[in-house]
Chain length 458, copies 2
């Protein structure tokens, strides 16, 4: 990159916060996308770490002037290559922007983009409040969580990130700063540009600050594991549960997979019966209530299974289950060629899983499937197969996408489009809809400098 440009960046953020040696920025060139589908990073890059919104603004103004690609970067926990810098330009890491204020009176957190999910949850807790959603890895940063509209398992009761955002500060490619929304629970003033930026994956503006809703301190929680003979019985329970109760989470896993995951972690999956398990996380204001709701759910599940429901009440037992469930991805990662994130109407899950199984059989493919059952959100790992490469993955992926869309679903419920799903995008909508999305991109980022190659191509 041009030396004079580098010096200008150094003047803005300070010399120690501009890195140009590619060896020293290896961690910034990847994200959690499986290596076999992860895009290749560019070489001519500068890593820039601004300290505040003013610096972000100055950096963007300079980048705009120089038509330099800008890759905003949060925790790098994405799964679709969204944060990988695939062109020469700058990586704009938000890691130094870590201010957080808990506004107790308004039940809000005001967090700089670089605050991690773990820190947000902890800060809320310390103030006697809570942030119950758990939209990903605890090292994810709030800017990225909002930019990708992250979901996660605990979206059943509280919804995805979009439902938590009350306000944000963003910087446009020109360096202009916009403050959208506020410390407000209702706002119907203009068109809601904030909603457009949520889920735009860093392609419209750089998020520097977010205002998030907090909730009362958690009362009592319980985690149930309900074992079933088969997938059909397990998934048939889900609508029945949701008709009577709204748990934090309802997850579908297969025992074989969670046991393998547990083994790898030297942990122990506590339920040895049944082939298919539902994990139901309950949260109610106090112990009596969580017990009463949990009993109700267990009773509903009993219509579809003869196995006993396992009830975890101690924090350590509940944490153990959550840890194993969260580790499935890491257990599979090294053998995963691609990880899909299809989402279908909840009631279509069983049919869709059956069709995916047929594809696996027909193609002699190894697929590992689990997901957020109540959200209809399935993660399908396409596992490595001797002698198979990119074409194998693409064919499988296309078949699975086709199954999802035929069932009224979409190719991504939470991971987003990133850089590895953009090719598919245009075929998923009418030309008019695609044209409108391209207009949105041009409106915010006419020169296409923000996270190029991601979501909607400029």
């Amino acid at each position: 990159m041009d030396k004079i440009l580098i010096e200008e960046f150094e003047r803005i953020v300070g010399k120690p916060n501009v890195v140009t040696n590619i060896e020293q920025m290896q961690n910034y060139l990847v994200d959690e996308t499986p290596p076999s589908v992860r895009p290749k990073p560019a070489n001519d890059l500068a890593l820039i770490r601004p300290a505040d919104t003013q610096q972000v603004s100055s950096v963007l103004r300079l980048a705009s002037k120089s038509r330099l690609a800008v890759f905003p970067r949060g925790g790098g926990t994405g799964l679709v290559g969204g944060a990988v810098p695939t062109r020469g330009g700058i990586i704009l890491s938000m890691e130094r922007m870590t201010g957080i204020e808990i506004d107790e009176a308004n039940l809000l957190a005001i967090a700089d983009a670089g605050v991690t999910l773990g820190r947000l949850a902890k800060a809320a807790e310390e103030a006697g409040l809570s942030f119950p959603p758990h939209p990903g890895d605890e090292n994810a940063q709030v800017g990225g969580l909002v930019a990708t509209n992250a979901g996660g398992s605990r979206a059943v009761r509280h919804g995805v990130m979009r439902n938590q955002v009350r306000g944000m500060e963003v910087v446009l490619p020109t360096g202009e700063v916009l403050k959208l929304g506020g410390r407000l629970h209702k706002n119907n003033v203009g068109y809601d540009l904030m909603q457009l930026i949520i889920g735009s994956e860093g392609t419209l503006a750089v998020i520097t600050k977010v205002i998030l809703r907090l909730y009362p301190k958690p009362g009592a929680t319980m985690t149930l594991i309900v074992p079933y003979n088969n997938r059909h019985d397990a998934l048939s329970s889900v609508p029945k549960i949701l008709h009577s109760s709204t748990p934090l989470a309802v997850e579908y896993v297969e025992r074989d997979l969670v046991e393998r995951t547990a083994k790898r972690m030297n942990a122990n999956w506590p339920v040895k019966t049944g082939r298919s398990h539902l994990i139901v996380m309950m949260s109610e204001p106090n112990r009596d209530q969580v017990l009463s709701e949990s009993l109700k759910v267990a009773e509903i599940c009993r219509e579809n299974t003869n196995y006993e429901t396992f009830v975890a009440e101690s924090k350590s037992d509940q944490d153990n289950i959550l840890r194993i469930r969260s580790d499935i991805y890491f257990a599979l990662k090294s053998e995963t060629m691609d990880l899909l994130d299809i989402t279908v109407p909840t009631a279509e899950l069983e049919k869709v899983m059956g069709e995916i199984e047929n594809v696996a059989t027909r193609r002699a493919a190894l697929l590992e499937v689990f997901g957020h059952a109540a959200d209809g959100n399935l993660h399908v790992h396409i596992m490595k197969k001797e002698g198979e490469g990119a074409k194998y993955v693409e064919d499988l992926r296309n078949e699975i996408y086709e199954i999802a869309t035929r069932a009224g679903g979409v190719i991504t419920g939470e991971h987003g489009i990133g850089k590895i799903r953009t090719k598919k995008l245009e075929s998923l909508m009418t030309s008019k809809e695609f044209e409108l999305m391209k207009s949105v991109k041009r409106m915010f980022d006419p020169d296409g400098i923000l996270n190029p190659g991601t979501k909607i191509p400029a």
Copy 2:
């Protein structure tokens, strides 16, 4: 209007569904906006009542070709003149589009734009589910509720309309039909155009169908009235309540006003103590739980008052309270010059109400104030005053807006901008933000035919 055009519209929707006699469309020329600020309707209008999306599409295509203004119309329950047809053109009433399907397995309602809120709630109930939000008059139609991102009192737990929408079908001014979202609880495919249309007040597209989230059947509810000596004591309770519990609704009213309202209705407000009342609506899975949560809330409130909390448990007692609360608007309507809808951070409510009171004293103005306390959403009625007219209203309104924005608030939390607040809009944001909003409008409606004069001017 041109006779040939009228005949073309008649061919599309059938002769009985085109009305050109202005005497026969009087109900379609107004909405619930107080008459003294309500915009004047135009004269040269045709009322068109399409039966389905295809007809809406044909009507819009024809209107586009003829550059005819189109005023989409739902239940006409808006409070800012959004549905008033202020230019020659057509009124597009959705009243005949009343299909509704309850998708029990996916906990969704799929409703045509003309389905009323009352019918939606009833249909959900009949299927053993519920639609707990209550964003306005029961005659409001779902198309309008989504187009205006309606709020209402029961937004504390479940959020505003935006949080309920999972999908929609809309028709663009060109007649093109877009299907956005779906029967899905998570969706991160493209830019979320659906979110842009929610709250756009009929200026970007005509909503023909919406997919809304439903909830489990209601368990048990209780309504508390907590009397306080004064506003300060009442409002200081609100954050304390929200730190421990998430009621359906937390409303602030003054006893004098609810008693006057009750008297007008030949009803009886059940609490005779205190000057300021909080109405807290509780809903929990069963009676034990609602009792336990209600006791907890009552105990928290006791820190700020010595009066007994009144507990309504029977359906008729609860309905009586809700009916009186909902009727405040109608009790005041005939004497109201303008009804404001400011929204501020919840914790600023007390200060803001104090400042509004000072304005009233200084200007010898009669203002009636009540609101959705937990949402920071205040309704301020500017009441008629002998010898005062438009200038008086405007001066008061501007002072109150100034108080709200200084406190970090906005001029509308739920009613929207409509046609009577557009003048103010530009001054409430940076020029860049306003420019982006104008680009959004041009993107969807380049000829500015959709609901002209509303929200963002073309």
